[in-house]
Point group: C2
Chain length 346, copies 2
């Protein structure tokens, strides 16, 4: 299904790039920038969960449905491009982030004014455009009118929740204290609902699901979404740079306030706390310092605690799949996806 999703994205973006080219060749870097960002990598998790959502209803995914599901990936492209500006991240998936690549273009073309500001402005607009394209891709998917109309409230709610979750995260990073409870709330909105529950609902609505089935998807999606985010937090600290495309311990340098770090802080000894408060969030950490902080996270038992939370949340999620309205093939796919979402290396 991933290749079908990728094909739908390629066709859509290349069509829209032609539209931009008619406005002017100045827009070539815009077209090229989004196309490259979108097509060169990405797990397509949200389209895949939407796909699973419709499979679970027993409906066969048509080409039109695939296009509608694929459109979710463009919302994600907006979120990632804007996220990199907000975090000041220079790389994404091992390549320069959008604002960095436009900053570089400014330098290479010897344009006037601040290259960094040009990069940021371009990235804001490319993110906006990706958000608009996502809706346009859905509108043009070729769905029946009543199907499209029925899917719009879920689409809107998902997007509002995403932005609310992003703000909760930005605000959380700006608070002086850590809290497991607050970190889990951020995870619920920023990732849980937006990555899993709402894409499932979106697929379900397009497959004409019953209210009961929608509830079953919530029971599966919300805990799995939290587990997904907790895995993300672990990868941000223990992930293999070769696989993730991010420097080792990236979240340590960034000082990212996650549930994992909140548990670590709660459990740390005075000596460990001192070490943490001295180094956590220092962008210039050496690999040796990263390794020391990683050891503290392990020694406090925080890593093991989060692993067991992931396991527990995943089990809760899987138990919702016993619901008898979910098709057999849907159950198999959702079981596999739960494994992918929580045991991934990237």
């Amino acid at each position: 299904m991933r290749s079908e999703i990728n094909q739908a994205l390629t066709e859509f973006v290349q069509g829209e790039n032609k539209y931009l080219a008619k406005i002017g060749s100045e827009l070539d870097p815009v077209s090229g920038g989004i196309e490259k960002f979108l097509l060169e990598s990405g797990k397509r998790l949200r389209p895949i969960f939407a796909y699973a959502g419709v499979i679970g209803t027993g409906t066969k995914p048509t080409k039109e449905l695939i296009r509608a599901f694929a459109s979710l990936e463009l919302i994600h492209v907006c979120a990632l491009i804007h996220d990199d500006v907000m975090d000041g991240s220079d790389t994404r998936r091992g390549a320069p982030s959008i604002h960095k690549s436009f900053e570089k273009m400014h330098q290479e073309k010897k344009l006037v004014g601040s290259a960094a500001q040009f990069g940021i402005s371009s990235a804001i607009l490319l993110g906006d455009l990706a958000l608009i394209w996502s809706a346009q891709m859905l509108h043009k998917a070729g769905l029946a009118n009543d199907q499209l109309i029925k899917s719009l409230p879920i689409y809107d709610e998902m997007r509002v929740e995403l932005m609310a979750g992003q703000y909760l995260d930005v605000y959380e990073q700006a608070l002086g204290t850590q809290s497991v409870e607050r970190s889990l709330k951020v995870a619920r909105y920023k990732s849980g609902k937006y990555t899993i529950e709402r894409p499932l609902h979106f697929g379900a609505s397009l497959g004409g699901a019953s209210t009961n089935l929608i509830t079953a998807y919530t029971n599966y999606g919300v805990p799995l979404g939290q587990a997904f985010q907790l895995r993300d937090d672990m990868l941000g600290i223990f992930g293999d740079p070769v696989v993730t495309g991010k420097p080792a311990g990236d979240d340590l340098r960034e000082g990212k306030r996650t549930a994992l770090m909140a548990v670590t802080m709660e459990r740390a000894s005075p000596v460990q706390l001192k070490e943490l408060s001295r180094n956590f969030g220092d962008p210039n950490l050496t690999n040796q310092q990263v390794s020391t902080l990683q050891s503290i996270i392990v020694e406090t038992g925080a890593q093991a605690h989060i692993e067991s939370m992931i396991e527990e949340l995943t089990n809760t999620s899987l138990s919702a799949l016993t619901h008898d309205e979910i098709s057999t093939v849907g159950k198999a796919l959702l079981t596999e996806l739960a494994d992918i979402a929580t045991n991934r290396k990237i």
Copy 2:
């Protein structure tokens, strides 16, 4: 009609704010920020042109239609919030811009990390949310399904053109040279189509207009949109700060490359060019220096030239109103709007 548009916006935003409040009180500044920005001022030009677009078809604007038209204002809120981040503008309509007000909140609450970065991140997210809300307001307007479906391609095209125009503008500012032709192209996309032509088409599509009528609106809207942007350029340099809410000569300090400045450069004497290249774009210009630059723009005849372009474009626009499918009351309203768009002080 302005008060009906404002009422629809108030009702929508207050409803959505309740939704955000259910997620958490951390989002209160987000709700409050957009609500204040949206409701405290704004000319509502785009909803008004959409209103005129439907009036021209002879259709009576219902409450549902007003809601759909009003949704355009939220696209504009996104554009303005993001624009202020891109330009680094500290004020908007005489009040702090969104990124500045979140920066201030960060300082007042003594949050950790960079207050400026917190302001920018918040503004990116509030702009994204406004863009999402605009679509949600349209979807929830209560239109008939086929009406809504028919309006979506125009809505999408308008939003793509806006972002394309914004990028053309950012790129134009980064070029080392000025060009009247390029400035007019930026004006065509950034303002012309987005402010006038597409809102008219949007209204027309909701009123079930014929292809001929749509073409007549293009003939009216495109030149008027350019005239509107030329007036904007003039106000950016000669506008009364008391009325515009912006410092006198704001665009001179910002070094904004507009058609007005391109004509000035073309016509300037070597002495005038030297003065311009020394001071144009200096953020610390004194009022005396602003006044010297203003005199150069007048003395080169650029101001008079742009005034005559505005007049000519407005006349071309008005001549399109002879089209016999435009209702009499529509003609009267569109004539009045052409005057407002081109003779405004703000």
